[in-house]
């Protein structure tokens, strides 16, 4: 058996629907035989009648209804067709779901799935990585699975969590990643993972960029540099301890993220490491992010807009040469 990242998301949802009758899925075009723009719910509507529902093109209300259902004890999963359209639901997510528990002590266990990140030819409005917007506000858990196993186990866990979870699934990984089997157990949300040990430099990253970082690490290995790659897995809560432990081993830090360069995950990681582990660092910590423009549509432009092996390697080389 071989399972893709996308299939893992589908299987996780199937299991959730099977095992927990408080779960339902709400989103655009996810019902019927169609099964979603990316087919993440394909087959589920038939298997679980009445629990995989098409919504109108009303992202704000989609999340609003999920909040209401959660108050009444349900465990809704909301699928955004693209992460980019969650900007329409941002108010419900930040101001209603994110404040609910603090204000009322009533938990708001909703999971919002955001098909995120860039793919070829998708352009400014179908490529965004929005984890930084959501993680900035209080009250939300924001996860960014980078592997098939994490896609599966973190979605299962997300729905079980009593807090709102923004589940950023990377569209580029949907078909590009395969695993042999679904995991029986896994690290909990909130724990980062050292995916490749090293001693010379820590690359701290998440989601699709984990794989770019790994490729760079392998290249550098040929030159005798051992790069450690840390997959954050969840960007909020952020596992500072694991990052610090890695930097303690390597003395050097490069943060890589696919989102826009001002603020966001990479800045937050660096601010934490320098606050708590300043003396662990032997060189200036650096970042590689996307460029500070909308995400271009043409692949020639897009492949340079996002961080890539070349830009990550260049920064890594710079840090290693210090």
């Amino acid at each position: 058996m071989s399972i893709t990242y996308l299939e893992a998301i589908r299987e996780a949802q199937a299991r959730l629907l099977r095992e927990d009758d408080r779960v339902y899925i709400y989103g655009q075009d996810i019902a019927g035989k169609f099964g979603g723009a990316f087919k993440a719910t394909k087959g589920l509507p038939e298997q679980f009648p009445g629990r995989v529902l098409n919504s109108p093109i009303s992202e704000d209300a989609m999340v609003g209804t999920a909040i209401g259902a959660a108050i009444e004890g349900m465990r809704p999963i909301v699928e955004m067709q693209f992460a980019d359209f969650s900007s329409i639901a941002l108010n419900q997510i930040l101001n209603n779901a994110g404040t609910m528990f603090y204000r009322t002590q009533i938990p708001c266990p909703i999971t919002v799935r955001l098909p995120s990140g860039g793919t070829k030819g998708s352009g400014p409005f179908h490529s965004q990585s929005m984890e930084g917007l959501y993680a900035h506000y209080p009250g939300l858990v924001v996860v960014t699975p980078a592997t098939v196993e994490d896609a599966y186990s973190m979605l299962i866990e997300a729905v079980a969590i009593d807090d709102p979870v923004i589940y950023c699934e990377h569209k580029y990984l949907y078909y590009h990643l395969k695993a042999e089997a679904l995991p029986q157990e896994n690290l909990p949300i909130g724990k980062a993972r050292v995916v490749r040990p090293g001693r010379d430099l820590s690359i701290v990253t998440y989601s699709a960029m984990v794989h770019e970082a790994l490729a760079v690490a392998n290249e550098f290995s040929a030159d005798g540099f051992e790069i450690e790659v840390v997959d954050l897995r969840s960007v909020k809560p952020l596992d500072t301890a694991t990052v610090l432990a890695s930097v303690a081993r390597t003395g050097r830090l490069l943060c890589v993220g696919e989102a826009f360069p001002w603020g966001g995950v990479t800045a937050e990681v660096i601010a934490r490491v320098t606050a708590e582990g300043f003396h662990l660092l032997d060189a200036a910590p650096q970042r590689v992010n996307a460029k500070d423009t909308p995400i271009p549509y043409h692949p020639n432009l897009w492949s340079e807009h996002r961080p890539n092996k070349a830009s990550i390697a260049a920064k890594a080389r710079q840090i290693l040469s210090e």
């Binding site: 009303s58 419900q92 404040t99």
Partner: protein, 342 residues
């Protein structure tokens, strides 16, 4: 108690125009007395934050709360002190919230009209207008899934709030999901200072009902009987499985947007319109005219309520305030998911 109080009267010769009329009048009167007190406290600098009153909207709001019952969902808004009370909120909740007690439902974390008790069906509004509508829809979807029967959800909104995208999406999605939902929109002529002609382009807000596949009803919001009938009827239609219901009530807001606002933007001539009548006064006049209560009984009732109001305020004032050192500063329900920021 609020739900049952009906003053006894030997002189009561006629039956009230609606079975809930006197019960409703008591809520209205309580609201008026309580809100007058809040206004005074505000002017005395005793309130933490702003004060937002429902003056002029007591009949509509009371009818909303009284048309619902336990197990229903109510998402009140700015001007629903009366509706909240009628739906069962104890006076102590608003008293504590306004006076900054740490024992109110929001424990000092949120204030004034943002209070609620979602666990009892009374949602706690966020400020962004329209945002609570889809939340009500979601609660109703959940109730249906759980197999509950005969429940209804209601949201209130102003004519200004109807112009938000959130309202639109929420109103439409209720119809798509065919849930037993009632929207009560009160056109009180102003959204803060903005008059109707800078707010919407339709002739009458009730033209929105057909646009969403709702049954539409218009009501004179100054007439308690009409409010009880129209809103009660809309609720029962929704409860019986009919289409979602939209009620548009016409009134004039008889206070500022908040107590900081003198409402000087209201053209004086508007004050003479029939929608500008004070529903509490209108109800009281009818009660006297129809001899449902005597002037004396009403005076007694006022005194009784004033004592209740004073009790609530006194309790709230002697409650401890929240203290930063005692707050757990935790936005997450799961303590293991609190982000460890340095």
């Amino acid at each position: 108690m609020l739900q049952t109080a009906e003053p006894e009267s030997k002189n009561k010769t006629k039956t009230p125009p609606h079975p809930k009329y006197l019960e409703a009048f008591r809520v209205m009167l309580q609201t008026r007395i309580f809100e007058d007190k809040l206004g005074a406290l505000y002017r005395g600098g005793m309130i933490v934050g702003g004060v937002y009153l429902g003056r002029g909207q007591e009949a509509v709001s009371t009818a909303c709360g009284l048309s619902l019952r336990k197990g229903d969902i109510f998402a009140p808004l700015i001007r629903d002190q009366a509706g909240r009370a009628a739906f069962g909120e104890p006076l102590l909740d608003p008293a504590r919230t306004y006076l900054g007690s740490k024992m109110g439902p929001m424990r000092g974390r949120d204030g004034n009209i943002h209070r609620g008790r979602p666990q009892s069906g009374q949602l706690a509004m966020i400020s962004h207008l329209g945002a609570m509508i889809p939340v009500v829809v979601g609660t109703l979807m959940a109730k249906r899934w759980r197999g509950e029967k005969d429940f209804v959800g209601m949201a209130t909104i102003g004519e200004g709030g109807m112009q938000t995208g959130a309202s639109h999406e929420g109103i439409n999605i209720a119809a798509v999901e065919k849930v037993p939902f009632v929207l009560v929109a009160t056109n009180n002529r102003f959204a803060y200072s903005t008059p109707n002609d800078r707010q919407f382009g339709c002739v009458d807000l009730i033209d929105r009902a057909a646009a969403y596949g709702y049954d539409g009803h218009t009501v004179d919001g100054t007439d308690l009987t009409a409010c009880l009938e129209v809103i009660g009827n809309a609720v029962e239609r929704a409860r019986a499985g009919g289409a979602p219901q939209m009620v548009v009530a016409n009134v004039l807001r008889l206070a500022g947007h908040g107590e900081h606002d003198d409402a000087s933007y209201v053209p004086p001539e508007m004050r003479g319109e029939s929608y500008a009548r004070d529903s509490v006064k209108v109800a009281e006049e009818l009660i006297l005219e129809q001899e449902l209560m005597t002037a004396d009984e009403i005076r007694q009732l006022r005194e009784e309520i004033a004592a209740e109001v004073n009790d609530a305020i006194n309790t709230a004032q002697t409650d401890p305030s929240p203290r930063a050192s005692e707050d757990d500063w935790r936005a997450m329900a799961q303590i293991d998911l609190v982000d460890q920021l340095s």
